[in-house]
Symmetry: C2
Subunit: 381 residues, 2 copies
């Protein structure tokens, strides 16, 4: 005992754990203590990044009451040292599962929690097989990290704001340079490029650029359709920055606004503004969805708005909460959500307007700043 | 009976199923028959695309002995009609699981197979819950689609070739325009943009551009390091086209080749060429890995080559087979694999050279065409 202590004192002191990470680990360890776990397995890469700052792939993280083990391979050893020097990097030899079993045995762990929505059946079976001989039980432990990530702290908010800024500035550059004859693919590449130039590590998701009738597909892939005089072009895009994502949608009209699109646009914009005005901590997700949905339905397009009003946003593009008619949960202060009503008319096209906002106790702060008025949406060419 | 037949004749005739898809479905149904399944659940998006051509997210596909059901939501209805008009689109109301239960009951399915490496524990539990009351059993059925995808048919090969061509042409454009002062991020954005312009629907994976010592991190994220006279810059990139992916790595030297890099480069190149010469259907993956690995080890860098030699490539960036020391399986004619030895020296940097090739009965065809000689790697600036 004394010897071990001395050894610890004599050893190199471990680098300090950043305060944000400390706070998050403390929350996780509280849950572990409550559920009688001496280990928690982190199998989703975004959870791992959130809890440790380490961004390696193809591994997993094991949290014990006193330590954090990053189980990964050769390729990420250097990165782990830079991103989480305070954690213990375990380089896998045979397999990550084997290293997990070794660490569990070394620490004398009896019960390790896993999150059922973050692990495949095959992976869990594989882990069970190596942990059984060691005497360690794997315990279903739902939603630990999802709950931790549902509201954002100041640092996360700042990062998301920056991801939004990158996306917006890139879009403004594309809007300025849009010209007749460009394909949807050209525009998507350009937007991607402009985001990259501004520091994005990539798009938040495959960029949607949909001209004319293509915009009736809410998740259209950019193709060969070209911008023409009178085109309506829908953009759904976002930037990833330091792991966090932004998510925006705008429609631009080239030279003129087709009559039927003008009507759709006005309905969708009004629905969005009503929903935004209604957002506040304590109100249910389904209530906010209903406010946008009933306006669109009253205008005769209820069936043409077939998706949820919005979703949580952060390290993943779709996080808790879903702003849908099926989610009775109340919004919480500190959530970042999208509000994105849409109307899609097959053959004609679709309109969707999407902003990102922060839920607060007294309402919300709209984090995105691009205009939504029809005058701005009209681009003279 | 007669009535039903008549009805079928009178109804609109279903669009024809493309021949490739027919062949793949037939293989899957053979496995189903062998294992006594009256349904197979496809829960991976790339499997779904491979078996149906439908590219929708957030749903699943149910294959019965006679039908294919695409269970998805509103957002993908139009896309499903275009991409797989011969299949039955089932728009989810409450949840995809509910629609699955309804379809299973309607078809009187007793046993539906699922693939354990393609579904999370939580999803499987959710499906079990809705299928139990209907009397349908979920049966573990490993590797059906992975086996089907391990060798590529003519159409797939043509698509991969095109994905390689896009990546190569884009790289040549970046190589021509590379200049002192550009950051890793600038170069990654540019490469991404040049691929997009050539029709890529996106990069195969987040592009790696790593200058100098950064290249010692096999999976470096492009950052703020700049190209300088005497820089070594490692690029690992690929294009996604029509769902398929290419994957290449090259190192460029700016103005001159640092002495130590020259040596690393020559060793890696020789290791790669030896491995490529050895590839042939029937040889084991581990044998090929060993050929490159022993050359590098003999040159004194065994510990600095810590990853597998290569991997299968297709709809996913990492597919079966892994060309690693742990895989005794023989290569098969029609596999597309990467060969990518590397040496990474912390503090100095790394060299990796990667090509994509097709395994054949008499050897292999190197599908990628970018030069690998040091003369070409040297860029005058």
């Amino acid at each position: 005992m004394a010897k071990a202590k001395q050894k610890r004192r004599a050893g190199r002191s471990r680098p300090r754990i950043p305060e944000t990470i400390q706070r998050r680990l403390a929350s996780v360890r509280e849950v572990m203590a409550k559920r009688g776990l001496d280990g928690l397995l982190i199998t989703a890469r975004t959870d791992q990044y959130h809890l440790t700052g380490f961004n390696g792939e193809d591994g997993m993280t094991l949290i014990s009451p006193r330590q954090v083990y990053l189980l990964s391979d050769f390729r990420f050893e250097e990165a782990a040292k830079q991103e989480a020097p305070w954690a213990t990097f375990v380089k896998r030899k045979k397999s990550v599962a084997d290293e997990l079993a070794k660490s569990a045995r070394r620490c004398g762990m009896d019960r390790i929690g896993y999150m059922p929505d973050r692990i495949t059946v095959a992976s869990l079976d594989g882990l069970r097989k190596v942990l059984r001989p060691v005497g360690t039980k794997l315990v279903r432990t739902a939603d630990v990290t999802a709950k931790l990530r549902v509201t954002k702290d100041a640092k996360e908010l700042e990062t998301i704001r920056h991801a939004i800024r990158i996306a917006e500035e890139a879009f403004l550059a594309v809007r300025r340079s849009i010209r007749i004859g460009q394909t949807e693919q050209d525009l998507a590449s350009r937007l991607n490029y402009e985001m990259g130039r501004r520091g994005a590590s990539g798009p938040s998701f495959p960029i949607v650029v949909a001209e004319g009738p293509n915009s009736a597909l809410p998740h259209a892939e950019p193709g060969k359709r070209v911008v023409r005089p009178g085109s309506a072009v829908l953009f759904d895009w976002g930037a990833r920055w330091e792991g966090y994502r932004s998510d925006l949608t705008r429609v631009l009209f080239i030279g003129k606004i087709p009559v039927r699109f003008r009507r759709l646009y006005e309905i969708v914009l009004e629905a969005q503004q009503r929903a935004i005005r209604a957002v506040r901590a304590g109100r249910s997700a389904r209530e906010i969805d209903g406010i946008a949905r009933s306006h669109i339905a009253n205008c005769g397009y209820g069936k043409e708005f077939g998706h949820a009003l919005g979703h949580g946003l952060g390290l993943d593009i779709h996080e808790t909460p879903s702003l849908s008619s099926r989610n009775p949960a109340p919004l919480e202060s500190g959530m970042v959500v999208t509000i994105e009503p849409g109307i899609y008319v097959p053959g004609l096209g679709g309109v969707r307007i999407e902003d990102d906002l922060l839920v607060t106790d007294i309402g919300c702060e709209v984090l995105s700043t691009l205009p939504t008025d029809l005058g701005w949406a009209l681009v003279d060419k």
